[in-house]
């Protein structure tokens, strides 16, 4: 059971690292408006995820 959680942890870390790498590579192609939009949506994403997990009782 613990091993499963460790593997999940690795999987999540690799996903975040992969998405982070792609974002870092492509953010330089974005216009200033695109960067601002992405920033606002990222803030919204984490805010709504926070509210969702708050609702779950975390």
């Amino acid at each position: 059971m613990k091993l499963e959680y460790i593997l999940y942890g690795f999987g999540i870390l690799f996903c975040i690292a992969g998405v982070g790498y792609l974002a870092a590579e492509y953010v330089k192609y974005l216009s200033d408006v695109g960067k601002l939009g992405s920033l606002l949506l990222t803030v919204g994403l984490f805010a709504f995820l926070g509210k969702y997990f708050e609702g779950l009782g975390w």
């Binding site: 974002a23 492509y26 953010v27 330089k28 192609y29 974005l30 216009s31 408006v33 695109g34 939009g37 992405s38 949506l41 990222t42 919204g44 994403l45 709504f48 995820l49 509210k51 969702y52 609702g55 779950l56």
Partner: protein, 169 residues
């Protein structure tokens, strides 16, 4: 009711995530991009689309040497792309020569490369000796976009040949 609100937050988070992905695809990836690769002597540099505005780009060659330019236009759109590529060489705000005028016609999600050579042997002005340095500014125009690249021409130093003096017999 609480459960519905909770799910609503999750869906809103997903909408934000999809929005970010869509911005990255349509604002970041889609469009027409170009890059220029320059080979001069042992030096090779590649200037990507997003780096043109930030830096001063140049290369250096000696008189008599050539600089090779490879200009690539990348059409990342669903429609084809057609434009004229004009390259000219300038010195002190005066045009020295037109290097290239070529039309590129690129299918959707395809690339096309245009090549040219700057031969400094053909550019040496009458009032300049090969021992003097010189500068040319190359302007590259495509579809209203203008790129500037400076070619420094260094003095060509002839190798010193030392001939052995015959020993007296």
């Amino acid at each position: 009711m609480t459960v519905k609100h909770r799910d609503l937050y999750l869906y809103l988070a997903l909408v934000c995530f999809l929005g970010i992905i869509l911005i990255f695809i349509f604002d970041g990836y889609m469009g027409v991009y170009d890059n220029l690769t320059v080979r001069a002597g042992e030096d090779e540099q590649k200037i990507e689309d997003q780096n043109w505005e930030r830096d001063y780009w140049s290369t250096a060659v000696e008189w008599g040497e050539k600089a090779y330019f490879y200009y690539e236009v990348d059409n990342r759109r669903f429609s084809s792309y057609k434009a004229d590529v004009e390259v000219s060489l300038w010195h002190s705000q005066e045009k020295v020569s037109d290097i290239l005028v070529q039309t590129v016609s690129i299918d959707s999600f395809d690339k096309e490369q245009v090549e040219w050579v700057v031969d400094t042997a053909e550019l040496l002005p009458d009032d300049v000796s090969p021992e003097q340095g010189y500068e040319y500014t190359m302007y590259l125009k495509r579809d209203g976009i203008e790129r500037k690249f400076v070619v420094h021409v260094r003095s060509s130093k002839m190798p010193v040949i030392i001939e052995p003096v015959p020993l007296p017999r």
